[in-house]
């Protein structure tokens, strides 16, 4: 049995679920019983903090009661996040949990971290004599933030499929794995009526601030780019990136090279991306500069409609009349401009 103090720090562990089960706590009790009022307050706090500070926050975990409330606040926060029902918000919440976990994990022993990786089915080897940690490269690929240059596999030592990593790296990899897991959980679940009723005022309040946040960003004009003239494919990719969805590399590539061709500067492109809940300046800059040729000396040209289709990033159901006449997203955008001129 894992200690309660640990569970409250790492409430995402399977053992936490078991703890709740073993103590026969029903969702209804957690939502209604005055006994758990504090857990509910912390639940809302988690969600608020994740949105405003990118970290669900640190609270005192001295007494048993502190710990139980903290532990219970986790499923509560998740249920609220599901009910807020906004993709940007969900990504942001998952990030806030993952970052919080990371900040605790870096203070734990390697063996503790390795135990956690078991839960994520991450294949780790630990050499008891040298204390060296290595990770199977497929798991590394799944979770490591390889968009950072120093995280690229080539800049790591690999032998026999295992990549040596530091203790801190391992904590970071768990952070990423956790983030993905929470994202998936949030996407799979549906808002339950009783949760919505219990927290309706908080849910509405947060929904409003999310909306405001989005409006602020979307209203800001970016250089010469006119959002409304974007072809459906680019609109979709941009929206997905801004919502923090997992856009495949080819999608990012298509959008960045497209924007670059429209003469948007790297900074302007970065600004467009900066609204993503998981936006990281350095990593995004690296990617963008690579594609626009700033750091790689070759600027790539944006793919045409045929290629977009092959890669499955042309939304075939959403294409319009103009799409049918054009063979390149760039010519679509230019044609839109021309269409408008005579009206002036």
């Amino acid at each position: 049995m894992v200690e309660l103090s640990l569970l409250s720090k790492y409430p995402f562990l399977n053992a936490s679920k078991e703890y709740i089960k073993d103590n026969n706590l029903s969702i209804q009790e957690i939502l209604d019983d005055p006994l758990y009022e504090r857990a509910r307050i912390i639940g809302v706090e988690r969600v608020d903090n994740a949105f405003s500070k990118r970290d669900v926050g640190e609270r005192s975990l001295v007494t048993d009661s502190d710990q139980i409330m903290e532990l219970l606040s986790y499923p509560i926060a998740r249920m609220i996040a599901v009910c807020i029902d906004d993709i940007f918000f969900k990504r942001r919440y998952a990030l806030g949990e993952a970052i919080h976990a990371y900040r605790n994990l870096i203070n734990e022993s390697p063996l503790f971290l390795i135990n956690i990786t078991n839960e994520f089915k991450i294949n780790i080897k630990f050499d008891k004599d040298t204390h060296k940690i290595s990770i199977y490269f497929v798991d590394y690929l799944h979770h490591a933030p390889t968009r950072y240059k120093e995280w690229k596999m080539i800049n790591r030592g690999m032998k026999n499929g295992y990549i040596q990593i530091s203790h801190k790296d391992l904590a970071r990899i768990i952070q990423e794995a956790l983030r993905t897991r929470i994202n998936n959980e949030l996407d799979e679940r549906k808002c339950s009526k009783s949760v919505y009723e219990t927290f309706s005022s908080d849910i509405k309040r947060i929904q409003n601030s999310v909306m405001l946040h989005r409006k602020n960003i979307e209203a800001a004009p970016i250089g010469k780019l006119d959002n409304k003239k974007l072809p459906p494919c680019m609109k979709n990719i941009l929206a997905a990136i801004q919502a923090g969805e997992n856009v495949p590399h080819m999608g990012r590539f298509a959008l960045v090279s497209f924007l670059h061709s429209l003469r948007l500067s790297n900074n302007e492109i970065l600004k467009l991306f900066s609204t993503a809940p998981d936006y990281e300046e350095e990593r995004t800059r690296y990617q963008v500069e690579h594609i626009t040729g700033y750091s790689s000396s070759t600027a790539y040209s944006p793919p045409g409609c045929d290629k977009m289709r092959t890669y499955g990033i042309c939304p075939t159901e959403e294409i319009d009349e103009l799409c049918k006449k054009k063979r390149h997203p760039l010519s679509y955008y230019k044609a839109k401009w021309k269409q408008e001129k005579p009206k002036k």
Binding site: Y136, F137, V138, L141, H142, T146, K149, E150, K152, M153, I154, N155, R156, G157, M158, K159, N160, G161, Y162, I163, Q164, P248, H249, M250, F253, H290, I291, Y300, R309, T310, Y311, G312, T316
Partner: protein
């Protein structure tokens, strides 16, 4: 000179040879056969026919007999609905990892003839399989399949169940690793503060040295060191070191300077892992070692930062290549070094046929040396098919 491009007779002749081959030989069908997309190029047809799926093997063999395609491809990916017209509707379920090395993508390949190109690409291929896939990635031999492509390259299929599900950006990472892209030199070399006594009886004014990784370090760090040491040895052993350096792309004047700098003592120190040379020399060593040890690979990404490898089409093993008549031949790790495509992948018969050659041509094929003159002559079928495929000859009936 006749029209060598559109001779129907020539096409029919080649097609007929292919038909006989497919009648007597069976191709190797991929596992998960029913979940693969198949694609074909037909003789005289325009472009590639894609998005075909076969439920039963005999449907496939019937198709071969009926159409006798010039090229046969299957998808490295397997899909829920392989014959759906768009990628989305197919519903991707996984894909083998495919490496496609083609002489097209080697530096200076245009200057070499076909035989030399094949040799060079085989060297790259060996590096890929032995040094990277087996050593660094640690793949089990039983998951690695090697093929001669029938054309100008080699294919490697990795079928380890653990990698079937990785997505395209993860595959991209693997390609970057193997091709040596984005290596951060500050992670390879690092400056180390030293005191002056630490180098035996020699005395150094400055307290800094650039430390090279040990050659046996894992990953690229060790690889770069091994590359540098190998290079230094080559330069030292060479009768004409300046020439050797020029091969590595160093200008003559720079080469002379570099050689001046490469004293015995320096060389000794490089081997001990200290590379405290000037910045340009350091850069030169790193870049050359990188080029020497990385694999030059196509994967279609020379002009594109993404490998579409999750969805790519690959030649079907044991099928024939339309432009050579050679077989997509399976190779084992043990036989890779001895493998000679111009002997081992030539499967068409040798009964003589009459062709007209539009230019002189020389090749050693099936251990026989041919120095062919332009004009009408009788040649073994396999060579006739090869020359027609390369648009150098037409059939004379």
């Amino acid at each position: 000179m006749g029209n060598f491009l559109n001779s129907n007779d020539s096409l029919e002749f080649v097609k007929d040879e292919f038909r006989k081959y497919y009648k007597d030989n069976s191709v190797e069908l991929p596992d998960r056969f029913g979940r693969r997309e198949f694609a074909f190029v037909l003789f005289g047809g325009k472009g590639i026919i894609r998005h075909l799926g076969f439920e039963k093997i005999n449907q496939f063999t019937d198709f071969l007999k009926e159409k006798t395609p010039g090229d046969i491809y299957y998808s490295s990916a397997y899909y829920q609905i392989p014959d759906a017209p768009t990628m989305q509707e197919k519903n991707w379920m996984g894909a083998e990892l495919i490496f496609d090395l083609d002489s097209d993508h080697l530096p200076n390949a245009e200057k070499l003839d076909y035989t030399q190109q094949l040799k060079m690409v085989k060297k790259e291929f060996f590096k890929l399989v032995d040094d990277f896939l087996l050593n660094d990635f640690g793949f089990d031999e039983k998951y690695i399949e090697l093929y001669f492509s029938g054309g100008r390259g080699y294919h490697c299929h990795v079928k380890d169940p653990k990698i079937l599900n990785i997505d395209s950006s993860e595959r991209r990472e693997i390609i970057d690793y193997i091709t040596g892209r984005d290596l951060k030199d500050s992670l390879v070399f690092h400056e180390q503060v030293t005191d002056r006594k630490s180098y035996g009886n020699r005395s150094f004014p400055s307290g800094k040295t650039l430390k090279m990784p040990r050659p046996d370090e894992p990953g690229w760090r060790g690889r770069v060191s091994r590359g540098i040491i190998e290079m230094v040895n080559e330069i030292k052993k060479s009768d004409d070191p300046i020439e050797k350096l020029k091969e590595y792309g160093v200008k003559k004047s720079d080469a002379e300077k570099l050689l001046d700098d490469l004293s015995e003592e320096r060389i000794k120190r490089i081997k001990e892992g200290r590379l405290d040379q000037s910045k340009t020399i350091r850069k030169f060593f790193l870049n050359s070692a990188l080029r020497k040890t990385a694999v030059s690979m196509s994967a279609g990404e020379t002009d594109e930062p993404v490998t579409c490898d999750v969805k790519r089409l690959i030649r079907l093993p044991a099928s024939l290549h339309r432009k050579t008549g050679f077989k997509v031949e399976k190779i084992t790790l043990e036989t890779l070094m001895e493998f000679d495509p111009l002997r081992d992948a030539v499967v068409l018969p040798d009964n003589p046929v009459k062709i007209e050659l539009n230019q002189p041509f020389g090749i050693t094929i099936k251990k026989e040396e041919f120095n062919l003159k332009q004009g009408i002559q009788e040649l073994p079928t396999y060579l006739a098919v090869f020359l027609i495929g390369r648009k150098k000859a037409k059939i004379i009936l």
